[in-house]
Symmetry: C2
Subunit: 342 residues, 2 copies
Amino acid sequence: MVTIGDVAKVAGVSRSTASYALSGKRTISPAVVQRVLDAVDELGYIPNAGARALATSHTKVIGLLGRFLDDEFAPAMLQYILGVTNRARELGYDTLLVSEEDGIHALQRLSSSRMVDGFVLLNVAERDTRLEILRAALQPGATVGLPAECDGVDVFDLDFVESGRLMVQTMHDAGHRELILVSQPVHVVERGGAYVWRLADGARERAAELGVTLHHHHGDSSQPGIGRDLADILDRHPGATGLLLNNEAAAAALPSVLAARGLRAPDDISVIGRYSDDFARTFSLPFTAIDSAADELGRRAVQQLVARIEDGPDGTAPHVVELIPPAVHDRGSIAAPPTPRG
Amino acid sequence: MVTIGDVAKVAGVSRSTASYALSGKRTISPAVVQRVLDAVDELGYIPNAGARALATSHTKVIGLLGRFLDDEFAPAMLQYILGVTNRARELGYDTLLVSEEDGIHALQRLSSSRMVDGFVLLNVAERDTRLEILRAALQPGATVGLPAECDGVDVFDLDFVESGRLMVQTMHDAGHRELILVSQPVHVVERGGAYVWRLADGARERAAELGVTLHHHHGDSSQPGIGRDLADILDRHPGATGLLLNNEAAAAALPSVLAARGLRAPDDISVIGRYSDDFARTFSLPFTAIDSAADELGRRAVQQLVARIEDGPDGTAPHVVELIPPAVHDRGSIAAPPTPRG
DNA sequence: CTGAAAGCGCTTACAG
DNA sequence: CTGAAAGCGCTTACAG
C-alpha cells in the first residue's frame, strides 16, 4: 500500500510537507507542490480513509437511515436514496445506507463509532423515536419528513397541507363541486404518517372555503384491496366528478378500475394524484399529479447537512424547516365535469 | 468521547487487557472479563471505527456499486439493494452505497482509500469495464449479473437461459404452439445487458426442440412506447396464443393493452413474465411469472463476499458462478389456447 | 518555507 | 493470566 511517506520520499520532502502540499493548509513553494503532485500521480496515492478519519475526526461519509416498511411504497424510496447519494458525492461525501429495522440502534452504533459525519433520516414520522437519539448525537442530522418536534434537526418535506389545498383548488377551478379524496390506509396514519392527514386537512379546509363537497376515504395500500376499495368508493358517491389520490397504489390501480367501469379521465371523471414524476413515467400513469419531489428533497437534505457539518459543532446557523411548495404536473386528466345524464 | 482507555480505567485493567477481554483473542479470567463488560455497559463504549480499521485493516464495510441507468427499471433496483444491505448487517457489515456514474473511479477511490473490505457490483454487463479494476483491487468482489469473463470474482445471476426454456416449456405444456417473446429494447443489449439474449436464446432453443413457433421482438422500456409496441406486435401475430415477457415495462403496460383490445388472460391469450414478485405485488400484475429473485441474489452475493473477506487474502476457495434456477410463480394467466374462431 | 515529533484510538506482538 | 510498548497512516501544532 502506498502511503504519504512514499509520496514524501519520491518528492524528496518530509511527510508533513507532503501533507501540507496536498491540503494547502500551509504555503508551500510551488516547485515543491509540483513535485508532490507528480509523486502522487506516479504512485497513484489515495489517502487511507481510516487514518485520516482518526486524525481529523471527519470521515466524509454520511449515514442514510431509511425505514423500509412492508406496505410502504418501495419504488418511491429509491428516488430519495439516489437524491441523497448523488448530491452527497457531488459535495465530496460517500453514503452509508442503513436499512436496519432498529433505527435507534443503528443510529447509536454509527454515531458512537464515528463512522459518519452526519445523518439523513428518511421517512420520518410524526413522533419518530429516532429523533431523540439524533438530537443527543454529536453529529448533525437532517430529515425528510416533518415530525411534530423539529428542534435540533433540519427538516425537509413536501408541503402537504398546501398540496391538499391545491388539489381542491385545481378541481374547483375546472368547475367541480363534489370531490373524493382517497388517502393511504388508516394504519399508515397510526404509524405516524402525518402527511396523510396533513394533505387531507388542507383539502378539507379549502373545500370548506370554496363550498365544495369533499368525501374522504382511506384505501388499501396494495392490490387487490385497493381496486375493490376504489370501485366501492366510486359506487358510494355517484355525484362526485373529481378524484384526488394521496395513495400511490390507488393511482396504479385506477386505470384498470376506470376501464372496468367504462369510464375515462377526464371525460367522465377528473383525476389528480400525488406521487413522483418518475413513478408516473415508469407506470405510465396518465393522471395530472403533484410531484412528490423525492429526488429534490433528498438533495436538499444532504446539502443542508453538509453545510452544517462543515460549519463545525459550534456553527450557529438556525435549524431550518423547509416545506417544498407543491407543483402540479399536468397530464390532461382534469377537465370540466360532464353534464349530468338524464 | 469514550475510548478503550476509559473502559480500562473503570475496569481497573490495562488497555490491552480490556481489548483482549472484548475480542476474546486471549484468555482473560472470567472475573476480569465481567468487569470490562460492566465498564462497557456503564460507559456505553463503542469502538472508534477509524482507529480499529487503521489497526486491523478491516472496516467491516462493503461497497455496493450500482449502475442506475435512466431507462433501466429503477423500482427493481431497490430489491437488490435491500437484499445486500440486510444480509450484510446480519453478517456484521455496513454498506456504502455508490451511485456514481463513473464506477471505475469510485472503485479505485474506495479500494485505495481502504474504505471497504470488499465490493458487490450490481447490474454487471457482459463486458463490464469495472471488472478489470475489481480484479486488480486488493479487496474481493462479487457481482450480480453474469459477465463474459468470470475469473477473479464471485458471480450470481438468475439462470436466464433456463428461464427462457422454462417459459416456452410451460406454454407448450398448456398446449400452445405459437408464441411471442417481448424483450427489452435493443439498446439494452448493446449496452451489455446479456440477459436479454440469454433468455431469448433459451426460449428459441426450446421452441426449436418442441416444434413451437416463436416470434421475438424488442419493445420499448417505457410508456407510451411500449404500449404501442405491444399493440403492434399483437397485430402482427394474430395466430399467437402465448405471450412471454422479458421486459418489466411491457408487463406493466399489458393490462391496459389487453383491456383496450377486449382481451383477457388466460381466456384469450396466455401470459408469462419475468420480474420480481415484489414488483408484481406492488403493481398488481396478474400474470404468472418467473421471479427475478433480486433480494435473493443480493443476499447470496454479499454472503459469498463476506466469506471470502473473512477467509483472508490467501484463502484458496475457488470462485463461484451461481445461476439461480428459475421458479415460476403461478398467478393463473396460463391456460389452454382458445379454440380458433371461425 | 520546511522538518521532526506528537497524537488520534485502536490491536497485537513482545515481556513477564 | 496480565501489562507496557510499538505501530497502523494520517494531520497539525511546535520548532526552526
